[in-house]
Symmetry: C2
């Protein structure tokens, strides 16, 4: 492992475009990156893991941790992990929480990241959540992350000083596209589709959000769609 004097930031790298841009921003902020990826039994697990590996190469990240949180599919309650539930068409703009919501997922993810941060002395955790231009999941709100930060401050060893950083929380998907291109992110190495690990469906809410972002940014998506 290359040793530097830089502070370490753990970046949650799902393989999606948001987390890729979030990681690029952490690097720009001067951190040495450590990448955390979770397999949680979601439909597109293999594709997301492949994108994670490609992005780590692209971003020159050597310290990686891939963990299995299959219990999220044991628990179920989401069409992403319960294959008997249908992924319904996008409900964007209706104010409904779609059935792709994995209950309290970001708390699970962040708890793992904080445990790792305590062990490797990381001082920051970057998570690419977006509040405005998203599906309305309750654990993607800035107020949730602020409350989680208070929990971290109280629940870790004195002196840990681990900060949860949400650099894209107020961005729109089109901002993600623009920031990504500025940082040289190869978006063909990112995956958004909820349904397929092969060719993106273009219809699920995640594909719709992605395509709208590219359209608003005036840029073509380099991914193929059905």
């Amino acid at each position: 492992m290359e040793s530097t004097n830089k502070s370490i930031a753990i970046v949650l790298l799902s393989g999606g475009m948001d987390s890729a841009v979030c990681a690029a921003l952490a690097a720009e902020h001067g951190y040495e990156l450590a990448a955390l990826h979770l397999n949680y039994g979601q439909r597109t697990q293999s594709k997301e893991l492949e994108c994670f590996s490609q992005l780590c190469t692209d971003l020159n990240i050597n310290r990686k941790l891939v963990v299995d949180v299959g219990y999220l599919s044991q628990i179920g309650g989401s069409s992403l992990t319960d294959f008997e539930m249908e992924i319904l068409p996008s409900t964007l703009g209706t104010g409904e929480i779609p059935n792709t919501y994995v209950p309290f997922r970001n708390a699970n993810i962040l708890a793992i990241a904080v445990s790792w941060a305590e062990v490797i002395d990381a001082s920051a955790i970057y998570i690419g959540a977006m509040e405005q231009d998203s599906s309305g999941y309750p654990d993607c709100r800035a107020s949730f992350f602020a409350a989680f930060q208070a929990t971290v401050n109280l629940g870790t060893k004195t002196g840990s000083n681990i900060r949860i950083i949400t650099p894209i929380i107020d961005m729109k998907k089109s901002d993600i596209v623009i920031h990504g291109l500025r940082h040289g992110i190869d978006f063909s190495h990112t995956w958004s589709c909820y349904k397929s690990s092969d060719i993106a469906c273009g219809k699920c809410e995640s594909c719709q959000l992605r395509l709208r972002g590219f359209k608003e940014a005036g840029v073509s998506d380099t991914l193929s769609y059905m």
Copy 2:
């Protein structure tokens, strides 16, 4: 599954005496119990799982979830999960956090419980943490649980109303013994030793806390010790 009109409480049931008493208190409070147990690659995993099963039978709990959080041993940093670290003798009374501390473990456990609670519509989560008569782990403090409660309120779906309940937070180990006996807990079905899955060592901090509790309660422990 037996259907009742009772509210559901998830009880975190490690197989130790604290969580056993905590579960008995949840039943006394009128809840239907659902038991959650975690295998996290700790040294005494098999014994704890055995005690979990026995306690579920004793307490008449039918709804159970056992999840594998092996990532806590992947992450390491604790002598409970990193077998190359030695479990040092008790540091009780020194103010030191012992090396058995599993970083941010209770946040990981609670996040899983909250995810499950959202899916099964549980209204409470009982966790048998103790602040005073404990090893000083930062994620066992009442202030930590209050902060986590705020995180739950903000990070779950509106209407979930999941309460984190810590009924033994201010108890001493001797209180646990007394409450347990009052509720008919068979303490030979509980396990505390950090080191062994066979005969309890009697020397590790967890054995020491247990033995001190029985002594202060003026009761004999029914477990055998080396």
